[in-house]
Assembly symmetry: C2
Homo-oligomer: 224 residues x 2
């Protein structure tokens, strides 16, 4: 039983991968190098994949900086002064147009090629409800489209499914789940900046630290 | 009035671009370099874009050979022995899993970034009905997904539309339309092989030659 997992190297996708493995799937990981600032994520994704014993791991490279539009890929300063609780109220400045759609499209091609029907994604609409492409409604629309887009879907040999096991979990629940499954969070990377050690100051680091605190656990990652 | 046009450099996408221009759109072209054999297509796309006076032209590079699965990107021999009329009966060997979905996803990101709402694609379900991702039903499902995926779609500032003006045209009608609009078909490239001149023997060249014949016109391209 094969599944493709979108693995960014962050908390969420790494936990989703651990859940997929726990459900008995043979994992095929896909990671994207899209000109983001935090290339550390890619190293983290490969390390997490290795630790989870993925059957294969493809890294797809492309350059989203070609048209800019987000703090993650162009020269806009990554914001650090928001209170964590503000996240989810509006669409964050770190929104990248069509990012998950591009990622899922590649994952769909990979899934059909290896003869699988399931894609795992670490999308979560509790702490990140501001991202339109992290919502259940979006994922179901993608699924419908995917079954019309593909040879296997149209011929009826496959019914493609998007599994988003974290969709309604809080960050604390996500971390507790990963810890129970034996996931080593020291391998993961959340910081929006690409320094040697995570900054502990950006929105993503703050959210991560708050999540470990809410889970009553200590983040095993060493901060700058 | 801006529109993004998926421009491969072939007959269909070039004609769709000419139609978009004729409808008064300012064109933003997007072309993909995805490890296909016929890189000549990319040069053709740039030439067609220039001739049509595109406002901008982005070339997105990525490598679909990472997981193979199609004659267009791996070492499977490109078939040349099918009768042209067989096309459309079944899904061709040149099918690439999720190709149009990947292309449209990038186009969606580009469209949202430039503040446009319209994507033109040269999809055609008459001569190529074998490709699942060239059908009207698929394109509408993509559109639905796109409006749930994006900030502009969710906030209601945009309603993304996929325009496929060729969807129900025959190849002959497509060529006649392009000629009326002044499109120079000598700039386009259809051959599946990447030689200096088109081979005239592969399925794509045969289909092109048959289309010009059906239109009562001579293909301005010089064959090997």
């Amino acid at each position: 039983m094969k599944a493709v997992i979108l693995l960014s190297g962050g908390l969420d996708s790494s936990t989703a991968a651990a859940i997929a493995k726990d459900r008995g799937y043979e994992l095929y990981a896909i990671t994207f190098d899209y000109g983001q600032r935090h290339r550390k994520e890619i190293e983290a994704a490969l390390a997490v994949g290795k630790a989870l014993g993925v059957k294969d791991h493809v890294v797809i490279s492309f350059d989203l900086r070609k048209w800019g539009g987000s703090a993650l890929t162009d020269d806009i300063e990554v914001p650090t002064d928001h209170d964590v609780c503000d996240l989810g109220e509006e669409i964050p400045v770190t929104y990248v147009p069509a990012r998950n759609t591009i990622f899922l499209s590649f994952a769909l091609g990979y899934t059909e090629t290896i003869g699988a029907d399931t894609i795992f994604i670490g999308a979560n609409q509790i702490d990140y409800s501001g991202y339109p492409d992290c919502r259940e409604e979006y994922l179901r629309a993608f699924e419908t489209m995917a079954n019309l887009a593909t040879k296997a879907g149209v011929e009826g040999t496959m019914r493609f499914k998007i599994e988003a096991p974290l969709i309604k979990m809080t960050k604390a629940e996500i971390i507790k789940t990963g810890v129970v499954l034996g996931l080593d969070y020291s391998l993961t990377w959340s910081c929006y900046k690409g320094e040697d050690k995570p900054c502990g100051q950006c929105d993503s680091c703050k959210l991560r630290l708050a999540a470990f605190e809410a889970a009553g656990l200590t983040d095993p990652v060493e901060y700058a």
